[in-house]
Symmetry: C2
Subunit: 381 residues, 2 copies
């Protein structure tokens, strides 16, 4: 397997953009990545596209809009982990030597999708889902459990949302650019006790893209190639099914494997984008990713360790909570965000001196398992 | 890249089965493949699932039903070429050395999908589709053009459907098991002149699966491993956009590359499953795949060359026309069918002495291109 580098990334501004077609947002992100990589569209040999609601042959439609044709295109879906799954597909095809230059694009138009203004419905035959165990219910139970066994407070969870909305104000790609107080967050509409509206990620439209090649040729295109040091993708495991709802064993298992592959540990991570679908989620991911011990997430946010200037900055982009969550684009956008930090190009939200970054997504409910899929990538400059 | 073999395949009976869940059909096919491969479910290290209408994290839901968890799962979509795209994903991950034993499952419940009893709708922003250039219209124009420039007759196209419905009667997995006459086909309801109902593939529910591993360990599991000699996947090409609608340059381009990769030519193919979405399609694919010259497809069917006992048997399964077309399952089912022939296990429809087989799928409309995706696999015993 060859070492693979990211040579260009791009993103649309995220938001509620029902007037924009999937192929329009996708092609904007692809062109941004092409220009960033200083690569000719003709050099791109294959592409992965991730979408959940974007319709059939989404990648082919985006590439046609860009002006690329005739190449291999694979469309993937893995719920919220779809973007990371597609990124991993491009990484693997280059690492294996099948191709040299590949594109990944993630795109979603949630506001024009069948689930617009709704919760994601349970799949046919999902008994737990039909009985009301949807995403907010599931995470509300986990949050309650975290409070029960570790004494984590409502204010500590709310601080995650305060931090991420602050970071979103610094990110030109963010859906929301509005500071929020702990009081505003806790007093917003109750969704599923104890989760209030401003602790939930929004529905979002947007796209992000990246271009990869073997590290051996990366400097032809960019003076700042970013190396893919680890790529891990797993589905949930019976063995770990909710031994304790306060945390996800799937995330910690993927993190262990990713650290081993990258030859580093959580103490080496300078910047992290994690899957803060709810404010609770980010706090539990601190623990699962090893940034603190189990039960210490509340303390970590209290001391500001995960702020942009902290010991381990998490979601400087604003995360799903503020930057937004176009389901299958999120995993690609996380990669773009980490790349900008490692290249020292993240503007007002730059994590100073970042050399190693981690991107983490989880997606999909499968009855009896803690999640459908979890993907972790570790990137190094 | 390592040589890769298919060690087990499985399929549900195809049909209109609205009472069956996607995970139910998928797990039946997976168990059939597991039993056929004589492999333990615990040995399966990763899986690809293809579906278009099966919902989010479809592969994870199927594997959970089977009792497999914790492994990497990738869900792919490439319209009618989705099954072949997923098969290629498994092939590539094993060929590259990332994993040893992988599963592919394709599944579709068309009768419970949003397009049940409808034509596949155009994607948002597809101007040509919105103006009525849907699949039947598109292929009706191509069929007319074939008649115009080559003198192909309505009866010759109808003979494709006669042959495939005959073959379907011999296949226990087939949706239809009913002999049809040329007259019945030509006198069935007009869909889009000159295409009548019985020249169109049906909506179908079903699933198919296969298990692959490196050839170096295949004989641990089966005395009859089938080698993947070529795998090609491409999207449509501007350069070849409908220079002449009578044939698809994309199919012939993919065929050329597949023959080169497999080190053989069309004269070496003993059995072929091709994408007969319409009776016209199969006849044009004879030419694109090199089984006869351009314009000679009508003559090929006239002399019976593509019958099970002919020179180059095509769609012994009954093809999409009779065996049925559960969109994203079709590509995997084609592989299963070829494997059964190469193992001399295809029962009443067996192509005697088959040693080399070819599976061909095309999928998806993209405005301005001849198709979204085309995939060809060549298998050898």
């Amino acid at each position: 397997m060859r070492d693979v580098a990211i040579i260009g990334v791009g993103s649309t501004v995220f938001g509620k953009l029902p007037e924009r077609l999937v192929r329009d947002m996708g092609s904007e992100a692809v062109w941004a990545a092409i220009n960033d990589a200083n690569v000719s569209p003709k050099e791109i040999e294959f592409a992965y596209c991730s979408t959940t609601f974007g319709g059939a042959v989404c990648g082919e439609r985006i590439l046609t809009e860009v002006g690329i044709s005739g190449i291999e295109v694979v469309n993937v879906e893995n719920a919220c982990a779809g973007g990371a799954t597609a990124f991993r597909g491009v990484w693997n095809a280059i690492a294996s030597g099948l191709y040299d230059i590949g594109l990944v694009v993630g795109v979603e138009s949630m506001t024009t999708s069948p689930i617009a203004r709704k919760l994601i419905p349970p799949e046919a035959g999902d008994l737990a889902g039909d009985m009301g165990n949807n995403m907010p219910a599931h995470f509300a139970l986990s949050m309650r459990r975290h409070m029960e066994i570790y004494g984590t407070t409502l204010e500590q969870f709310a601080k995650v949302s305060v931090k991420n909305h602050h970071n979103g104000c610094l990110n030109p790609y963010s859906q929301y650019k509005k500071e929020l107080s702990i009081e505003e967050i806790l007093n917003s509409r109750m969704i599923c006790d104890p989760i209030t509206l401003l602790q939930c990620c929004p529905n979002t439209d947007g796209a992000a893209a990246a271009i990869l090649c073997p590290i051996s040729i990366a400097r032809k295109y960019t003076p700042k190639p970013i190396i893919v040091a680890a790529s891990i993708l797993k589905m949930g495991d019976y063995a770990s099914r909710w031994e304790d709802m306060a945390s996800s064993d799937l995330s910690s298992r993927c993190a262990r494997e990713a650290y081993e592959m990258a030859g580093c540990g959580p103490e080496d991570i300078d910047v992290c984008e994690c899957h803060d679908a709810f404010a609770y989620s980010e706090l539990s991911h601190y623990e699962e990713l090893g940034f603190c011990g189990y039960g210490e997430g509340g303390q970590l946010i209290d001391v500001g360790a995960t702020e942009i200037t902290g010991r381990i900055p998490v979601n400087p982009s604003g995360g799903l909570l503020s930057r937004g969550h176009p389901v299958s684009a999120t995993g690609v956008e996380q990669v773009a965000e980490i790349v900008w930090h490692l290249r020292d190009e993240a503007g007002k939200r730059q994590v100073a001196g970042a050399r190693v970054g981690l991107a983490h997504t989880m997606g999909g409910e499968v009855a009896g398992l803690e999640a459908g899929a979890c993907a972790i990538h570790i990137l190094k400059r």
